[in-house]
């Protein structure tokens, strides 16, 4: 009888085997059922440690996995790597857009989590659902490549662009995934695993009303600016007239003062991503300032400052605009 136990060797975990001859044919397989000869054994090496043999794996044992040890081709022991028991603590901290109503040609969502997440769960655990609970099938882009930020806390979820672009078979045959006047919810199921392999503490969702199409350029010339008085640190407040993209808003706007010097301060996106404000860290100078808008800034339907998402070649007003930053001038009074 072979005695097999979890042990340590050279700073890593190993399987310690007692009572075996030095030249025993020892192999380790993941799982509890080993079909003889069909699968290669787990990579690793056998090391003698006193009277024992230690199997030191080339790749660390995985929590929650069983390992079968065979000796001379016969199963001799099964060891299970326990999965650490911890309460689920990770949760969704935000779902964007936060606007109550989105256009029928909505392009993307962002989901923020409170801790880094595992890849591979987005396709199965993020859904669009109707008020009656039924799933809106085929609405989201199948996510073979999940779009995370570098810390794996923000997930970008795209609606299937083939359903949104006019002229493509997806749109022609199946239409928009959303329907005007029919509310829906983006649902993040609690089976979505965090980086420690634990489910979410609770599922999360955000409900939206659905409006009409949005197919215009984002046009900073139409924005309303509440210009602060000079000599104060009151905010510059900008209202867009329609919701803009949460992710891009955070990097596409900046303010420069005289000499093109960047105005430092605290920026904040307003409710429903319909406005933005800058509270300067030093009082406004009574001089001409520029609000500089990057041309890639998009609205909820993927229309940007420089181009509409899906350009009708017959419409002059849909022509691309220069891919250059657009400047809005203001002067604190």
């Amino acid at each position: 009888m072979t005695e097999a136990t979890w042990s340590r060797s050279g700073g890593g975990d190993c399987i310690r085997l007692a009572g075996l001859p030095a030249r025993a044919d020892v192999r380790v397989f993941p799982g509890t059922v080993v079909a003889a000869g069909s699968l290669p054994p787990m990579a690793g090496q056998l090391e003698r440690d006193g009277a024992d043999l230690c199997f030191v794996p080339r790749f660390a044992f995985l929590d929650g996995t069983s390992y079968t040890v065979t000796v001379e081709g016969t199963p001799a022991a099964v060891l299970v790597r326990p999965r650490p028991e911890r309460p689920a603590a990770t949760e969704v901290t935000g779902i964007h857009p936060t606007a109550a109503e989105v256009p029928v040609n909505l392009l993307r969502f962002y989901v923020w989590f409170s801790a880094p997440m595992s890849e591979g769960y987005a396709a199965g655990h993020v859904r669009l659902a109707r008020d009656d609970g039924s799933i809106i099938a085929g609405a989201l882009l199948p996510a073979e490549h999940e779009l995370w930020d570098a810390s794996r806390r923000r997930l970008t979820v795209l609606l299937d662009p083939a359903r949104i672009k006019r002229g493509l078979p997806g749109h022609q045959e199946a239409g928009y995934p959303l329907r005007p006047g029919e509310p829906f919810r983006l649902v993040v199921e609690d089976g979505f695993r965090d980086a420690q392999g634990l489910p979410l503490r609770v599922p999360a969702e955000r409900r939206y009303e659905v409006g009409g199409e949005e197919r215009r350029h984002v046009d900073p010339a139409t924005w309303e600016l509440a210009v602060p008085p000079a000599g104060t640190c009151e905010p510059l407040h900008v209202t867009f007239g329609r919701p803009l993209d949460h992710g891009l808003l955070a990097r596409c706007l900046q303010v420069r003062g005289s000499g093109s010097k960047l105005v430092d301060g605290t920026t904040q996106t307003g409710p429903g991503e319909q406005s933005w404000q800058l509270v300067p860290s030093r009082a406004w100078a009574a001089a001409v300032h520029q609000l500089i808008v990057e041309p890639v800034l998009e609205d909820l339907a993927g229309n940007s400052v420089s181009r509409v998402f899906d350009r009708d070649l017959t419409r002059l007003e849909d022509q691309p605009r220069p891919a250059q930053p657009v400047t809005v001038v203001f002067r604190p009074g």
Binding site: P40, D149, L313
Partner: protein
Amino acid sequence: MSEFGLKPGRVSLRSAGPITFGPAGILFLADNAAATVFAVDVADPGAAGGVGPFDLEDVDARVGSFLGCEPGDITIKDMAVHPRSHNVYLSVLRGHGEAAQPVLVRISVADGAIADVPLDEVPFAAVAIGDAPAEDDERLDTTLPLGDEGEEIQFATIKIRLVRQPIRTATVTDMAYAGGALLVAGLSNEEFSSKLRRIPFPFSAAMTGSSLEIFHVSHGKWETAAPIRAFVPYDDGASVLASYTCTPVVHFRLADLTDGAKAVGRTVAELGPVNQPLDMVSFVQDGEEYLLVANSAHGLVKIACRDIDSQSPLTEPRQPVGVPRETKDLQGIRRLANLGGSYVLALQADDAGRQHLRSLKSASL
């Protein structure tokens, strides 16, 4: 390998992404988490490959067993075939979350033996990719690390450790080597655009590649840009056939792409609704070059390159036809690679989700 600028060192992969072979058996590996492409001399030990097929049942279970995990705990991200030995390389993610480990696996076509390709001390070069992040993008997501990564910050009398990482990222969806350059297609996690990067190889510090934005026109009426999901160079790298996340198949000539200029590709086919293109490969049959497109819903599509060149832009919105194509009733194919000319190697999932390597005879496709 010094002629390609490769220097010995450790390739520290943070994630497993697309892979493709370049000149002299150099493998390009995209590491999306590190926003880097590595060029690695994999020192393939195999003899020159023959002309025969190679099939391997349950490749996911076999690779999983070798790596010490259940098949459900590995994700095969991409597949490439070594141009000389025909050995099969898989870019594999083992485990999930913090336990996840990217591994490069080699499967010998001589005997099906599986090995991991050591990356500890190998000749390599690296290049930063794409829009990740823009130099003027100072947004960082700040988190408390579990280990000793990140930087130590002092708040009054308290020291804490923080990790600050960029929020904007670019994800490489496909890569190919053509005409002395690595072509890299990517998907931004923010703006919706179509950018193809052309990075000259050998990599140079001063030149990280030009970015080409490619538009396509739907049926002569609507012009849009979209991220390229899969693409394949053909005609000795002069042309590229690309498929988008939204399924049009678009042709463009590499010579027509100049840095910073807007390029409009010619839509030559539609792959149909509720479908994603997954991979593309070129092969030769009876002296003519053909392309194969693997799809999530519509089987395997075969297109003759000569038909692409003669196809005028699609004009009828309700006729998703375009270039003549044959649809092979082969479902579940996720990745394709040319196996020495006589065969195309396919990574195929069956109805039960088990994955297999299958050789498709070029002459019979």
